[in-house]
Symmetry: C2
Subunit: 358 residues, 2 copies
């Protein structure tokens, strides 16, 4: 270390001439900022997301403008209008992604008509319960209504086997040479049929692929001639979940992907649990989010190993069988170990049937 920090005490003020490599003569055009919220909560072992409608347009994620005069940060602005509109207390808020495409209406594809300069910042917010909302236009909906092929909790969805995968297969076969190989690889990575297996976190990749192939309801703003000849116009798009306004479904997919991933290395799941719960409650919640069934005993083993839970001492008699011990989160332990998430003991074999040893 030979150079000491500059003498002039490093004032953290922006220099007169903002020091980009080249800002000469180019002024950024002012744009509008919109905040999009994916508000997620669990209800009866279903993962739900708050949606709004306006007239007969498709569903939308709640969103509002960001006014920098009113709020110091995005997050404060978001919390403000969410709590003003709903009675929800947002425990956990996380920025997802900022979408700045001019052709954003078309999921990032080019568009023929010029669009307004719109930038939207997506946020994921977790609520402890899907509390009723005071807005007739707002409603909680299971997120698998938008992504039915993502719910493997009772096995591989028939929609996937019967419709989506064949359609993707056709799309692959409709090209040749290198393009074909690339398409095959993309489908394989996203949907993992042969060597790879289904990775729940790839939900965005899957959605974008399906969008590109034309398998979902949202219309692409423009298509090239080749893309127009895609063979999947048999109405499959009508069965692949509810469409949403603009690219909101993509934002939702981003949020789910983030949450599915984060579960594994941060204890976020407890933001969505009530004050006391059984281990099976917790398991069902995790299953709801990741979208597949877990191995019960192993789940319990690893959850108890975290030391994040303590027994309340009481039992739950809602089981229909032997009563289950009720647990609550150890707030202290949670604070001290904000790292660490849950092990997800994925069931590799059969989801339910216990196969005899032989």
């Amino acid at each position: 270390m030979d150079t000491k920090p500059t003498d002039n005490e490093a004032t953290a003020l922006r220099p007169e001439n903002p020091g980009g490599i080249d800002t000469a003569g180019r002024a950024g055009t002012p744009v509008q900022i919109t905040l999009n919220a994916v508000l997620a909560a669990l209800e009866d072992n279903e993962p739900k997301v708050l949606c709004v409608t306006r007239g007969d347009s498709p569903l939308a994620l709640p969103y509002g403008p960001f006014d920098p005069r009113e709020h110091r940060t995005f997050e404060l602005g978001l919390r403000d209008w969410v709590t003003r509109q709903t009675q929800l207390s947002l425990g956990y808020v996380e920025q997802l992604y900022t979408f700045g495409d001019r052709g954003r209406e078309g999921l990032g594809r080019s568009l023929d008509t010029p669009l307004e300069h719109l930038v939207s910042v997506g946020y994921l917010a977790l609520a402890a319960a899907a509390a009723p909302v005071d807005d007739a236009d707002a409603r909680w909906r299971s997120w698998y209504r938008f992504f039915p092929w993502e719910d493997w909790r009772s096995g591989k969805p028939a929609l996937l086997t019967d419709a989506i995968l064949p359609a993707l297969g056709q799309w692959v076969k409709s090209a040749d040479g290198q393009t074909r190989e690339q398409r095959r690889a993309r489908v394989e990575t996203a949907f993992g049929q042969q060597n790879l297996h289904w990775e729940e976190e790839r939900i965005l990749e899957r959605f974008e692929l399906m969008y590109e192939v034309g398998l979902v309801g949202e219309r692409r703003a423009s298509r090239t001639a080749i893309e127009k000849s895609a063979p999947n116009e048999d109405g499959l798009a009508a069965r692949t979940g509810l469409p949403m306004v603009s690219d909101h479904r993509r934002i939702l997919a981003t949020a789910i992907a983030r949450l599915r991933g984060k579960l594994k290395y941060r204890p976020v799941i407890f933001q969505m649990m009530g004050p006391a719960f059984t281990l099976l409650d917790l398991q069902r919640s995790v299953e709801a989010i990741v979208g597949f069934a877990l191995h019960k005993q192993n789940f319990r083993r690893s959850v108890e190993a975290t030391g994040l839970l303590v027994r309340t001492g009481t039992l739950s008699d809602q089981t229909g069988g032997r009563p289950a011990a009720l647990f609550r989160v150890d707030r202290d332990a949670l604070q001290n170990r904000a790292d660490m998430g849950l092990v997800i003991p994925r069931l590799v074999h059969k989801p339910t049937g216990r196969r005899p040893t032989e």
Copy 2:
């Protein structure tokens, strides 16, 4: 599934009245968008980042305005001005975070004077080599110049033991009761001294903590009385790395954190390697990024197990010892398995000395 998607074919157009929960009467104020780039590359086993200077203000990350009239997406805009200013070909570009704080100059703290409405989108970009840049004000610098305490490649930095940790300890002791316990927990999570261990990915958390305590050069815009009484004004800030303009050092920390994490589950490291390299080259590169030494044999074992590398057949005689086999990336394998990163066989015991069995 009872409700079929709406009949009107889900046009992906934004509805006339943008359907936020409540947009009535509130118009978002237009803001300026700035793109910040963390341009990273490796040079002689040092991780480098491109910095610019303007006059005698502190170093800055290259940044430029985003003009939606000119570029369709942020990423295109970024690539455009980076390639115009440098000869670098950006292989990999990834959005980091969008900073919208009004008090951004003060790292997100409140500020007394009103500021312009500025939003900046941070990007991480990886280049294959730290190629020379055609701008006298731009220069590659090791990122450990900004974060000297993050480089554990030759053991725990003395700066940490001698200065930073004691100062943090004082900060903890200067509070009492619950505050004290909270501070202790925060320091422990970020710097992991007792039960936890150093987690390289927590670089942002560490920097923000140090900022809050006043251990880094960047000045906080405003402080509360209590914070002003922090006991760490002994000039330590002059030794904790080079300061940067505004919150650029925070953006850099975000980028490093992202890269350190991503290594483990995406093969991004190959974006920063030349066409052919030895396994030790690869190891040194990974070590440069994560900031600590790896176990050589185990690193090699797991890298070879990925199947992402193929031997070129030639040997490197640059070793000073037995020649090493040269490898190159198997592009096909890389494409087919965009998932999977490298196992990081962290050395838990002594970095160098082999302790006799006894």
